[in-house]
Amino acid sequence: MTPAQTWIAAFLTLCVFSFLYKDNPFYRFAEHLFVGVAAGYLLAVQWQNVLIPNVWTPLVRDQQLLVLVPLALGLMMLARLWDKGAGIARWAIAFYVGIYSGVAIPGYMQAQIFAQLADAAKPFAPGWGAVNSALVLIGLLGVLAYFFFSMPHEGVHGAGARLGIYFLMVAFGASFGYTVMARVSLLIARVQFLLRDWLHVLPGS
C-alpha cells in the first residue's frame, strides 16, 4: 500500500473502533462508505469476471447462441423489480429451484448423511484409539436420544438424553472457545496493521 492508502485505511479503522466508546458520526461515515464501496466493487467484479468472459465474449465474439438461454433466465429474474413482472420471474426461479434441488440433494445426502453414517458405524480403532471411538459412539447415541422427542425423556431414554446434554455443552464450549479465538484474531490483525504498517513501531516493521 502507498502511504496515502495506509493513512486512509488507518483512519477508517479508527473510525470503526470509535464505536467501542459509543455510536458517533465517524463510525457512521465509515459504515456508509463501506456499504457503498462494497456494492460498487461487487458490481465491477461481477461485470469483469463473470459477465464479460462467460456471457459477452461467447455471445458476441464466438457466436455461441446457447448463452442466450441462461442470459434470458437471468434477465427474467430481474423482472421481480416491478410488481407486474413477478410472474415472469417465477419461471426462472422455478427453473433454478428445480436444478438446484437436483444438484444439491444427492450431494448433501452423500457427503453429509451417508458418509457420516458410514464413519459412525465403522469398527473401533485399535489400542487407545478405541477410547476415542467409544466416546464418539456414546456421544452420538446420547445426542440422538436428546433430540428424539417422540417419547418422554424418562428412564433409560431420559438418562441417555441427559448424557447427550453434557456432550452438547462440551461441544458448545469448544465452539465458543474457538469463536473467542477468531474474534481476537481479527482484532490482532487490525492492531498489527496500525502498529506495523501505519505507525511503524512493531519490532521488525
Partner: protein, 285 residues
C-alpha cells in the same frame, strides 16, 4: 455499594481497554511463546508435502476482508509450501472481494519463494455460483474459466495444458470462511473424489472435525492458531505466529474475567443486591 457490586456493574469499556492492552503489549514486546502443532494441521501439511514435484493443486481462497486476519496468513503459508515443493497451483476464489486478497496472497508467497505466474501458478480470480463453479470444474474447467483473471486464455498458459477437470489435479485445498467448504466437500470430494485439505476460520473448525474422522477431509487448519502451526511446520515466522502471544494473553484475560464475573455473581446471590423474585417464581437461592 460493595466491591462485588462495583465489579458486576463495571463499564464494558474498561473490558475493551483490558483486551486492547492484551493485544498491544505482546505485539510491542513479543516473547514468542512456543506453538505446538496439532495432529489436524500436521495431517494437512503431510498431505501436501507428500505430493510429488510437478503435481498440480487447486486452491480456492473463499474469504473476504472481514476474516482475512485468520485466512490470509494461512493462505500465504500453504502457497509458500506448495511453491517450495514445486507444486503448481491453480488458484481461484468464490467471493468477489476475495479477488484482491487472493492476488495479494499469491504475490507475497510467489515473491518469497521465487514462483512465477503462469509457470508455477495461475490466478483464475472470481466466478459466481458456488455449486455451479464446482460442478463446472468437474466437467470442463475451460467452460467455466475460458480465461484467467488477467484475460489470458487458459490454453495459452503452459502449466494449464492438459488440465481440465479434478482428475488432472492432485488435490483440492479450500481456505474458506463460509459454507463454501461444505459444498467443496459435497461436490469436489463427494462427487468427483478429489482429495481435500481444508483451512477455515476458528469459528468453523469444530463443525469440520467429523469430516476428518470420515477421511472426507485429509487435514484441517483452523484459524490463526492453525496458520501459526502451519508456519512453524514450514519454518516461516509470519503473521500467524506473530499474533500468538497476543492471542494467549487475551485468552488469559477472558478466562480471568469469566472466573471473576461468575465468582462475583455467586457472591451476591441472596444478598442485599440480589434481584427480587417475580410473582409466581421461587426466590433466588
Amino acid at each position: 455499594m460493595g466491591w462485588v457490586e462495583k465489579l458486576l456493574s463495571i463499564d464494558r469499556r474498561i473490558i475493551f481497554l483490558l483486551v486492547g492492552a492484551g493485544v498491544i503489549v505482546p505485539l510491542l514486546l513479543p516473547v514468542n511463546l512456543p506453538v505446538t502443532v496439532t495432529p489436524r494441521v500436521q495431517a494437512a501439511y503431510d498431505a501436501i508435502d507428500a505430493l510429488p514435484p510437478g503435481s498440480r493443486v487447486l486452491i480456492s481462497m473463499d474469504y473476504e476482508p472481514e476474516i482475512m486476519a485468520e485466512l490470509m496468513p494461512m493462505s500465504i503459508a500453504v502457497l509458500r509450501h506448495c511453491f517450495r515443493k514445486h507444486i503448481q497451483v491453480v488458484a481461484m476464489t468464490l467471493y468477489p472481494a476475495g479477488t484482491g486478497l487472493g492476488e495479494h496472497a499469491l504475490d507475497v508467497a510467489s515473491r518469497a519463494e521465487g514462483a512465477v505466474r503462469n509457470r508455477d501458478f495461475v490466478w483464475l480470480g472470481y466466478k459466481s455460483g458456488f455449486q455451479v463453479v464446482m460442478i463446472g470444474i468437474g466437467e470442463n474447467l475451460r467452460g467455466m474459466y475460458p480465461v484467467d483473471f488477467y484475460g489470458t486464455p487458459l490454453d495459452s498458459i503452459p502449466m494449464m495444458r492438459g488440465v481440465n477437470t479434478y482428475a488432472q489435479l492432485s488435490m483440492m485445498i479450500n481456505l474458506s470462511g463460509s459454507s463454501a467448504a461444505d459444498y467443496w466437500i459435497q461436490f469436489a470430494q463427494g462427487r468427483y473424489h478429489a482429495p481435500i485439505v481444508l483451512g477455515c476460520t476458528a469459528v468453523m473448525a469444530t463443525d469440520y472435525y467429523p469430516y476428518l474422522s470420515s477421511r472426507q477431509v485429509l487435514g484441517l487448519i483452523g484459524g490463526m492458531k492453525g496458520a501459526a502451526e502451519y508456519e512453524r511446520l514450514i519454518d516461516v515466522f509470519g503473521d500467524g505466529r506473530r499474533g500468538m502471544d497476543a492471542q494467549s494473553l487475551v485468552h488469559l484475560i477472558v478466562v480471568l474475567l469469566v472466573v471473576v464475573g461468575n465468582a462475583a455473581l455467586f457472591a451476591t446471590r441472596g444478598g442485599p443486591g440480589a434481584p427480587a423474585a417475580r410473582p409466581g417464581e421461587a426466590p433466588p437461592r
